[in-house]
Amino acid sequence: MSTNDASNKDGTAAVVTRALTKRYAHPVEGEVRALNGLDIECRYGEIFGLLGPNGAGKSTTLRILATTLRPSSGTALVDGVDVTEDPDEVRRRIGFLSATTGLYPRLDARETLRYFGTLHGLSGRALEDRVEELIETFSMTGFATQRCEQLSSGQKQRVNIARAVFHDPDVLILDEPTTGLDILGTSEMIEFIHSRRDGRRCVLFSTHVLSEAERLCDRIGIIYGGDLLGVGTLDELRARTGEHWLEDVFRAMVTEAGHESARMGTDA
């Protein structure tokens, strides 16, 4: 089912961005710079967390990688495919989930999965088998024929995850996946992200919840004001800032970046 059969990709780059920028014209706010030359590299076999406050550029980055936004400049490769050159292929290779990827309210859970499966090229027995497999895996049997508009938020979350991993993608991009979920929903989501950790896959997710990043991520990228302030394992970031708690690490890096930019402004 995977779109890429290579099973020994552990450690190689799954997602690469180079000098990625995004600017857009807003009718009220004028030109908005969302990303300023972002360079990140996420590897197969790791869970990479993009950490930053609201408006830092996390969602913009992930949406460019998911091809729902086009970069203004720079390059981005996902599973070896350039997002601007072959966006259709990128979408075939990734799974994307966010608080804003809603479910079609007038389709039921089974129809939703069937729809995505059909567009992933499956049909007939293979399609039905995969739909049933996911319904079982995500415990959706009890509500598989209910319209999505009638489902609880927890049930919707399960359908949405099943929809995102229908084709068992090697690259999973999750934009603040726990936003709006209750304790149980958050716990299930964290469990799901854990379950995707193996040598073949890369999970790239954004969050502003520090405990999620601490608990899940192999490496963390700290993003602020459209700039990447630093990347590393939690221990590496601690060593760099001399702080223990991630919250303090984050604050120290933001302060350092502020001093840096202030100094550059003076030099200029």
Binding site: L69, T101, G102, L103, Y115, T118, R147
Partner: protein, 441 residues
């Protein structure tokens, strides 16, 4: 050459969107129910209203005062009163009043000038016709003043229906009286004196008259119904998706976006065509039956040939319509905004379609290439031909079809471009048109 996978994806999206749209109650109502029941309801209400108005008119009692206004006038007034009395048998004219008035009016039996003058003054005051709606006011609905010599004067108030009705009934009675007098004077029926008699013979078949009626009213209705059918789905797949947060889900579909958006546009066009089809079914089921209550000289049918010829015109028009409405709706962010914007845009389709109701307009080459006007006039020509292709202006019809297909393709391309465009907030022109401010991100 578009690859098969692209078409397959567009088809899958179109099927899903159509299914989804028809599960929406509002779409079902405007696309299926209203076009279907509109004609039966409209005709039924019209018939009931006509019957009611006629019945009320027939049953209404009006008072007419016949006033012999000077000496010797009574001799002229009496036959008029008799004629009106005859009329009263079937038209319910209140006679008691003017009989008593007539007996008093204008006569001076006592020979007392002063008394006669006083009576006349009182009488004239009573006989002033009511000039405005005052239920308790005294006086007649109309007053017919009859002098001994010269012209009769009928006074009435055209702003009151009772007074107009009284006028009509007096005129009918006078006409009959005049006819009678002429016949008496001639000693034979007046009709025998007519120097040139003629008879009207309508050579059109009942079906031809039906085709004429359909061709006059149906094209505009079909355009209006198609617009109504496409309206909600167009907003639903654009602003509706953004509001429901499913737009991003759609953007993530693992197929070319042009196929996704084309599939969505096809689903909107299907909704427009469904509304058109239901409208045709509605008129075929109801109009013939209901019209037969009014006249037996019209036969409403839609020959298969006409339906087959209408299909390509409607398909290309529906695509053009769907793409245009969706393109505009794609600039909006909420359902309310989408509805407000398309409320204005839909007039771009409905108003030009009024051309099909204008007498004398024909499908010339010039008319054929005008968007909306061409297809609506083409529909009129097809309906008027009544299943006889030889009666159709073939070249302008083909030009119209070609132009419509070209416009549809262009509109689809522009709509897909508009739908895939990245936007940060609502454009200023949309905010101005919908009266809702541009949003902050």
């Amino acid at each position: 050459m578009i690859p098969a996978g692209w078409w397959r994806a567009a088809r899958v999206v179109a099927v899903k969107e159509t299914r989804s749209a028809f599960r929406d109650r509002q779409t079902r109502m405007y696309t299926l129910l209203m076009p279907l029941v509109m004609y039966p309801v409209m005709f039924w209400v019209a018939l009931q209203a006509m019957t009611l108005v006629d019945g009320l008119r027939e049953a209404r009692t009006v008072s007419v005062a016949v006033v012999a206004s000077d000496d010797g006038a009574a001799d002229r007034a009496d036959p008029l009163r008799d004629a009106l009395r005859d009329d009263a048998l079937d038209q319910v004219v209140q006679l008691a009043r003017y009989e008593s008035l007539l007996e008093r009016g204008g006569r001076d039996d006592a020979g007392d000038d002063a008394a006669a003058a006083a009576r006349e003054a009182a009488l004239l005051a009573e006989l002033e016709p009511r000039t405005r709606y005052t239920p308790d006011a005294a006086g007649a609905d109309a007053v017919l003043r009859v002098p001994a010599q010269g012209e009769l004067v009928l006074e009435y108030d055209a702003s009151r229906s009772a007074s107009r009705l009284a006028r009509d009934r007096v005129e009918d009675a006078l006409e009959r009286l005049i006819e009678l007098r002429r016949a008496e004077a001639l000693g034979m029926p007046v009709a025998e004196l007519v120097p040139l008699d003629f008879e009207r013979r309508d050579l059109a078949e009942d079906a031809d008259r039906g085709a004429f009626v359909l061709s006059t009213m149906l094209p505009l209705m079909l355009v209006a119904m198609a617009t109504m059918g496409a309206f909600f789905p167009a907003v639903d797949i654009t602003a509706g998706e953004r509001e429901r947060k499913t737009f991003e889900t759609t953007l993530l579909l693992p197929v070319p976006r042009t196929a996704v958006f084309t599939g969505q546009l096809i689903s909107v066009a299907i909704a427009a065509l469904a509304a058109t089809a239901m409208n045709l079914v509605g008129i075929m089921l109801a109009a013939g039956h209901l019209l037969s209550m009014l006249t037996d000289e019209i036969e409403i049918t839609l020959p298969l040939t006409s339906a087959a010829l209408m299909l390509p015109v409607m398909v290309t028009f529906a695509l053009f319509l769907a793409a245009t409405l969706t393109a505009f709706a794609s600039f909006t962010e909420t359902f309310k905004q989408g509805q407000a914007l398309l409320g204005s845009v839909q007039m771009v389709f409905i108003l030009p379609a009024l051309a099909s109701t204008l007498p004398g307009i024909q499908l010339t080459l010039g008319v054929a290439v005008i968007p909306v006007v061409g297809p609506s006039v083409a529909l009129r020509e097809i309906l008027r031909a009544g299943g006889d292709p030889s009666a159709l202006p073939l070249v302008p019809l083909l030009v119209c079809l070609g132009t419509s297909a070209l416009l549809a393709a262009l509109a689809v391309a522009l709509a897909v471009r508009a739908m895939r465009g990245e936007r940060a907030g609502v454009p200023t022109w949309v905010a101005k048109l919908t009266g809702q401010g541009a949003s902050k991100s």
